[in-house]
Amino acid sequence: MTADQPISVTCTVNGETQTLEVGAGETLLQTLRRRLWLTGTKEGCLEGECGACTVLIDGAPVASCIQSAAAVDGRDIRTIEGLSDGERLSPLQQAFLDHAAVQCGFCIPGMLMTLTALLEQQASPSREEVETALAGNTCRCTGYQQMVDAAMTAAGRERA
């Protein structure tokens, strides 16, 4: 980790309160992956463009690779590991499986976090709204259509 002055951060991660000593320049992605072993959040472009590292902070999707860890003191963080209710997948996770929206899977945690935020804020989005919400999440495998189909199903707006 960095030789920076450590700073104490208290936040909730997937509902659990965590108090951590993080480096001054540490990113939230590093904290999640290296200190909490939440490796479901992926390290992609490291410049906040690809979306693979997306987590929710107070319900909003954020690129954790360019998010200061020290800055999340007092905030609520959700990662892919917190999406399911124990054994039961979230409707969105299940819809991704049902629509074969998963290929290599590296973008999937970020995709699911962004779409979870969307469906929490907007229960019944249009396809176009889903596509716009996904602008910050890149997938190289699927061409996106099955992902958008899955989001529509999870929102109860399955195509006729």
């Binding site: 980790m1 960095t2 939440l38 490796t39 479901g40 959040t41 992926k42 390290e43 992609g44 472009c45 490291l46 410049e47 463009e49 690809c50 693979a52 990662t79 892919i80 590991e81 999406l83 399911s84 997948l89 996770q93 991704f96 499986l97 049902d98 629509h99 074969a100 929206a101 998963v102 290929q103 290599c104 899977g105 590296f106 973008c107 999937i108 945690p109 699911l112 176009e128 889903v130 596509e131 716009t132 996904l134 602008a135 999440n137 890149t138 997938c139 190289r140 495998c141 699927t142 061409g143 996106y144 259509q145 099955q146 992902m147 958008v148």
Partner: protein
């Protein structure tokens, strides 16, 4: 059929949506050290001095290694030109020069910056054009001394890495008889694979053997190549594969693995390496930039008497696998259309740029771009309708390709044109100002390279398939192979477990490339499962005291046909077998035999046939913005033949994904080179397609079961990328009334062409 043809879910799907799936980049083992590479900061130069003293003294550093410290023989897949470390000269920006191992990746990174490098930068040989000039500097002055696989000559010559020439000898005469000669030059850029998971390798050295944990598309090639560069027997290397965060061809050869291996042996500790995003961008084996010149000898009635095709492509600083695939142009011209005779020359050229390599549809996208732009050009010059002209020139079943191989099922392509026409009548498409339509067709192959599988019947009646086939996302392993085994035995796909690749455990498999897994590995699994099935029937017949011929297996139960109460569960059969004659297992091996062809036409080519062909027609409608020159794809139709569909949703996912990559290649992605260096150096400027960029896609799936394939399956994953650039360029050219013969089709190029028209 119960399992084949249904959209079974991938076995790794749940782990992937939960974030539980462990990708190579997620790996960690106790005591592991971290290594980073010092990479060349310039495209070309002479290395005068490398001073590692300060790096060695840096905090946490365990070891610093240069070419002077390790075996550094030049090696390669085809031409042995590539050393581990540059020692005397730099051949491309990003070439490894030194490696540092430290306790943390940050310490290794800090130490790398302390290596003092004295370089005399040289003017790079930046383009194939420069490389081919008579007074060009040799990218590799000692090229003539490089070894090659099997001692094959490849017609190497200075900066020419290899060249093929197919010349039937009657081409020039045909040009003399022609009413007109139509000529086009088609230029295409590099394309970066842009998988999201960076390349990595985690190496350990134990008891004289190297173990590499990695996310890799082709573990057995990795084993063989490591054995080559480490100068150890193949059996001294073990490759253990993990989930792959995308590859698309970029993870088929060596990358970080040999460095991790060498460093792990020296440190006697596990060594982890992970590229950062900029290293990926600088060193990925992009699809090669190419220039294709096509001349056609044409009669006024449209007959093509001959074609003369000259391809030059940029191999970058090293040969990679290119000499092996250099013959692909002979299958992309004169195959689906009748062109009389044809001369094909293909030269691949060294430059001081990152080595290019394999990307989905290896060379197909630019060859079909050239071939199908050229068809539009001929039709336009003759005043013929572009679709009607294609249909007039389309060859029939049994038509011989330039290698003498007959395409027995070309009528599938006629059918594909018809199916597209039903959905989008040609006469009604592309009407209106700055609106255009394009169509293109292609034949693609199914990679024939070998695969092996062992299938075990477990004592609970389930199956385990042991294979080194890899799933870099397509689902070919995690759905396709499981479905084939399940169907064959008569159980559900859920009752089939499939292994991750491990070269110590599974037999040879040629990896995820060229749509081969479902067809080739699938056939091996089918044969192995057939063996298991026979043993089950034999044992059950003995247990039920009935004839083997009377038994069927359905839903995991063996019973006498028509007498369901005379039955045994597979678990009972398995248990009984295991503790009487021994566990039930069987193996299968397959490689597609080369189709009959004329070897005299393919002398010196490593790749001389076009096995298990599949057929494709794409149509697109586009609009063009008169102010900005931006192209919008309004409609896209794909008719694709797959033999037999094992998993409809998975096939659709492959087709849509390949299309997205093709649209990116054609319209948005940029990999420009300026004086040997990449211009776009971050994620944003590269310009990958986004969800909002994708058009509505209509997919017409065509089935035509193939005898050798498992349940008739051919390859399906790769080819949807192949015709895209051609179709879009044809549509844009139609929309603006001026030819677009270069990609990417930048808005600026569109405005230029609009001005000309």
């Amino acid at each position: 059929m119960k399992v084949v043809g249904s959209s079974v879910q991938r076995s790794d799907g749940e782990a992937k949506v939960r974030g539980d799936a462990v990708f190579g980049a997620d790996l960690a083992v106790p005591g592991m050290l971290h290594a980073r590479l010092l990479r060349a900061p310039v495209a070309a130069g002479i290395i005068r001095h490398i001073d590692t003293a300060a790096a060695k003294a840096s905090a946490g550093v365990r070891d610093v290694v240069t070419g002077a410290d390790v075996l550094n023989e030049r090696a390669g897949v085809a031409v042995f030109d590539n050393p581990l470390f540059a020692t005397d000269y730099i051949a491309y920006e990003g070439e490894p020069i030194a490696a540092v191992v430290a306790d943390t990746a940050e310490q290794a990174e800090a130490a790398i910056r302390k290596v003092e490098l004295t370089i005399d930068a040289e003017t790079p040989v930046a383009t194939p054009g420069q490389a081919l000039m008579s007074d060009a500097r040799m990218v590799h002055p000692s090229w003539a001394e490089f070894g090659t696989v099997g001692g094959i000559d490849f017609n190497r010559d200075g900066n020419i890495v290899s060249q093929i020439l197919l010349d039937p000898g009657d081409v020039d005469g045909a040009f003399k008889r022609a009413d007109r000669v139509i000529e086009g030059v088609y230029q295409t850029p590099r394309q970066y694979q842009a998988y999201l998971e960076p390349k990595m390798a985690l190496a350990t050295f134990e008891a004289g053997r190297y173990t590499i944990q990695v996310s890799h598309q082709y573990p057995f090639r990795l084993r063989d190549r490591l054995a080559q560069v480490l100068d150890v027997p193949k059996s001294a290397v073990r490759i253990v594969g993990h989930h792959i965060g995308g590859g698309f061809g970029a993870k088929l050869d060596l990358a970080l693995e040999p460095y991790a291996a060498v460093l792990a042996r020296r440190a006697r500790r596990p060594v982890m390496m992970l590229n950062n995003p900029e290293e990926e961008r600088l060193t990925a084996p992009c699809r090669e930039n190419a220039t294709v010149k096509v001349r056609s000898a044409v009669l006024n009635d449209g007959t093509i008497l001959a074609q003369d095709v000259d391809v030059v492509f940029d191999s970058g600083a090293y040969a990679n696998n290119h000499p092996a695939t250099a013959s692909i142009p002979i299958f992309m011209f004169g195959s689906i259309y009748r062109v009389g005779t044809a001369r094909i020359r293909n030269r691949m050229v060294y430059t001081n740029t990152a080595p290019t390599g394999a990307f989905r549809g290896v060379s197909g996208p630019y060859l079909v771009f050239a071939a199908e732009r050229h068809m539009d050009q001929i039709a336009n010059e003759l005043g013929r309708d572009r679709r009607e002209y294609r249909l007039a020139m389309l060859a029939e079943d049994g038509h011989k390709m330039l290698n003498g191989q007959a395409l027995e099922e070309l009528s599938i392509l006629h059918k594909a044109f018809d199916l597209v026409e039903e959905r989008a009548p040609w006469a009604e498409q592309g009407k209106g100002k700055l609106r255009g339509v394009g169509i293109a067709a292609a034949v693609w192959l199914t990679n024939p390279q070998p695969g092996q599988a062992t299938v075990k019947l477990n004592e609970d009646g389930t199956l385990t398939v042991v294979t080194a086939a890899t799933d870099s996302g397509s689902g070919a392993v995690t759905t396709g192979l499981r479905q084939i085994a399940a169907e064959c035995l008569g159980i559900s796909a859920d009752a089939v477990t499939i292994t991750m690749p491990d070269t110590d455990v599974a037999g040879f498999d040629a990896g995820s490339q060229g749509s081969r897994t479902t067809h080739v590995a699938g056939r091996a699994v089918y044969d192995a499962t057939t063996g298991v099935r026979e043993k089950v029937i034999e044992k059950a017949a003995a247990m039920l005291e009935t004839a083997k011929e009377d038994l069927v297996i359905e839903d995991g139960v063996v019973h006498v046909a028509g007498v369901p109460e005379m039955s045994l569960g597979l678990a009972d059969v398995a248990m009984a077998a295991t503790f009487s004659q021994g566990p039930i297992a069987a193996s299968g091996s397959y490689t597609t035999p080369p189709p009959p062809h004329d070897p005299s036409r393919t002398k010196g080519m490593l790749f001389s046939t076009w096995p298990t062909p599949t057929y494709h027609v794409h149509l697109a409608e586009v609009t063009v913005d008169a102010v900005t020159g931006k192209v919008t794809v309004e409609r896209y139709i794909i008719a694709q033949e797959v033999g037999r569909t094992i998993n409809p949703d998975a096939v659709k996912g492959q087709v849509l994904g390949g299309l997205a990559q093709g649209l990116g290649y054609t319209l948005w992605e940029r990999v420009d080179i300026d004086a040997g260096r990449y211009v776009q150096r971050n994620f944003e400027s590269h310009g990958l397609p986004l969800a909002c960029d994708m058009p509505e896609v209509e997919f017409v799936l065509m089935e035509n079961p193939e005898a050798a394939g498992p349940y008739g399956a051919k390859g399906a994953a790769e080819p949807s990328i192949v015709p895209v650039a051609a179709v879009i360029a044809n549509a844009v050219s139609d929309a603006i009334g001026a030819p677009i013969d270069d990609i990417p089709i930048t808005p600026e190029a569109v405005l230029d062409a609009l001005e000309r028209s």
